[in-house]
């Protein structure tokens, strides 16, 4: 394990300028995650958790401050560089699953591989991933519409893992699931963590936060503990 943190935020501020006044979604946030850590992020609604995740995942850029991923500042990257970076280091898991509804479960997982290698995957990697998250073979050709919420979230975890990312960003992964499903998803995430993956997870549920090594709490765009 190297000493360089996987994620490093220095004085990051994100301001949404609205007609009704500026909204400080993030206010001078300093924060870092070491390799292999499982960090839970909690806080009230509207406190800036999703904004934080988007900025770490390079989907969004901060208004000021520096974001370093594996020691590299993302601030000066071009959009294409950010996309490559996103492709190689970040796996997103969303509350709303965000699967592509036109594609089957299998294709949804295959898609990042297609994007990366420009050809079909013959190494059975997609199947292995789907097996690992507990999607049975006969479900793989179903579209997200035909899958339960828990199954969709499993597919989206498999998709996030397809490119073997440096870290996983989970924005309320269990937010749309009942407690039994949540438990299963958390077992998967916890298992991934035990395999050595870095996981950042936003959650409202203190129970799910217990899986994490440490929990940070964010309020009004500031980290309070």
């Amino acid at each position: 394990m190297t000493d360089v943190p996987v994620v490093e935020l220095h004085d990051v501020t994100k301001v949404y300028r609205m007609p009704a006044g500026d909204v400080y979604a993030l206010n001078h946030v300093n924060f870092s995650v070491k390799k292999g850590e499982f960090v839970a992020i909690m806080g009230p609604s509207g406190s800036g958790k999703s904004t934080l995740m988007n900025i770490i995942g390079c989907l969004d850029v901060p208004t000021s401050g520096v974001v370093k991923i594996n020691g590299v500042a993302t601030t000066d990257m071009s959009d294409d560089e950010l996309t490559i970076h996103r492709r190689d280091t970040v796996g997103f898991i969303f509350q709303k699953f965000n699967l592509i509804s036109l594609l089957t479960a299998y294709e949804n997982v295959e898609y990042p591989l297609l994007l990366r290698y420009g050809r079909q995957d013959h190494s059975e990697r997609v199947k292995k991933l789907l097996n690992m998250v507990g999607i049975p073979e006969d479900r793989m050709q179903h579209t997200p519409f035909e899958l339960s919420g828990g199954q969709q979230q499993r597919v989206s975890i498999a998709r996030a893992l397809a490119n073997d990312p440096t870290f996983l960003l989970c924005d309320e992964p269990t937010g749309n699931l009942d407690s039994k499903m949540s438990l299963q998803i958390m077992e998967i995430l916890s298992g991934l963590h035990k395999e050595g993956r870095t996981v950042l997870m936003v959650t409202h549920n203190p129970e799910t936060a217990e899986y994490a090594d440490r929990t940070i709490i964010i309020k009004d765009g500031e980290i309070v503990s």
Partner: protein, 382 residues
């Protein structure tokens, strides 16, 4: 989609019809626009009578003028006059056209549908339209009177299709044209003081006609007395066709304008459709961006989509045009062989290319819009 279909349809159909007409006119030029007709408008006083016509000397002058331009020509003299003829029970007013030997062959041969070139004072070639109307065939007889007023019969030895020249001669559809030798004319209408009504210069290359006409003009009319009128008038069949070409040029400008308008309408429609499609898929675009899709890949996706819409639309447009174009062309020219002319045919790939190009260009803005969406905002929409 409808927009692009109509746009491409307009381009192709109008293009085909235009090119077809052009081709038709070119054919006509090659077939018919190969002659000058010179007739005298000078009054000559012979034996105390005032007559009009070209004398031997005039013909010689014309020939020497023509020769100064090119030696590749046929010169012929012709006399014409009107006569009543009877085909079976039908009466018709006929224009009798007697042409000297070399010329007769030249004028008739290519246009002949059946039969032979007439020889002697009793045989004629008639136009196919007239033959059809009066149910005449080869060896049918026409009865009329000769120059002395005695009844005589004429034998149909050939039937020819009508051309620009024959149309110019006959002026009206009701007049039947009888082509024959000078002897025929003499037989039916009598001699006219050794003057000829008309001189024809026939060439293979229609572009020689203009300089020849100028040379004749200079030779015959340039020398005329100041206070007298011109000696001859020259009808250049190429001129008629030239002016037709001018009209065609105007039509083609109109045609371009019309297709451009429909293409602009099509482009606007495509922009609209594509923007809707981007809007519908905003969320998907956000997801794609979040899972490592490049901006330019999003761009490509939408441009492909526009291109495919364009291609399918253009294909349908072209197919429709391929149905409508020939029908219109057939109605205008009564010939389908024009469809196979390369200049007509080439509107098919041109139409498809333009259709796809317009769609891709029109799709560019929505595609850029899609590619530049903020992924976070895009995913937030439902």
């Amino acid at each position: 989609m409808i927009g692009i279909i109509i746009g491409v349809f307009t381009i192709c159909a109008l293009g085909m019809v235009g090119a077809g007409l052009q081709e038709n006119i070119n054919d006509t030029i090659a077939d018919n626009a190969n002659s000058l007709m010179i007739s005298s408008i000078e009054e000559k006083h012979i034996d105390g009578n005032v007559v009009r016509g070209l004398s031997e000397k005039d013909i010689n002058d014309i020939e020497s003028a023509v020769k100064s331009v090119s030696s590749n020509y046929t010169i012929a003299v012709a006399n014409s006059g009107y006569k009543n003829v009877k085909a079976g029970r039908d009466n018709a007013y006929a224009m009798v056209l007697g042409i000297s030997d070399g010329g007769l062959e030249k004028v008739i041969k290519d246009m002949l549908e059946v039969g032979t070139v007439p020889k002697g004072p009793g045989s004629v070639v008639i136009l196919s339209e007239y033959a059809e109307r009066h149910n005449l065939h080869i060896n049918s007889r026409l009865s009329t009177t000769n120059a002395l007023g005695e009844p005589t019969t004429l034998r149909v030895v050939g039937i020819m299709e009508s051309s620009t020249m024959t149309k110019m001669m006959a002026m009206s559809q009701d007049i039947c044209l009888l082509f024959g030798t000078l002897d025929l004319h003499r037989n039916l209408l009598g001699t006219k003081d050794n003057l000829y009504g008309m001189c024809m210069v026939i060439v293979d290359d229609p572009y020689l006609l203009k300089p020849m006409a100028n040379a004749i003009e200079r030779k015959m009319n340039g020398k005329a007395y100041k206070d007298s009128d011109d000696k001859v008038t020259i009808t250049n069949s190429f001129d008629t066709i030239d002016s037709l070409n001018d009209v065609l040029d105007m039509i083609s400008i109109f045609r371009i304008a019309l297709s451009s308008i429909s293409l602009i309408v099509a482009a606007v429609a495509i922009v609209n459709v594509m923007l809707m499609s981007v809007k519908e898929r905003t969320r998907e675009i956000g997801i794609l961006r979040s899972i490592r899709t490049f901006k330019r890949q999003i761009l490509q996706m939408f441009i492909y989509e526009a291109g495919i819409i364009g291609f399918i639309g253009a294909l349908i447009g072209v197919i429709l045009a391929c149905i409508a174009g020939p029908i219109v062309l057939y109605m205008m020219t009564k010939s389908l062989s024009l469809m196979l002319a390369p200049s007509v045919f080439c509107y098919i790939p041109i139409g498809i290319l333009i259709g796809v190009a317009v769609c891709v260009l029109a799709g560019l803005y929505p595609a850029l819009h899609a590619a530049n969406l903020n992924p976070v905002d895009a995913m937030a929409t439902d």
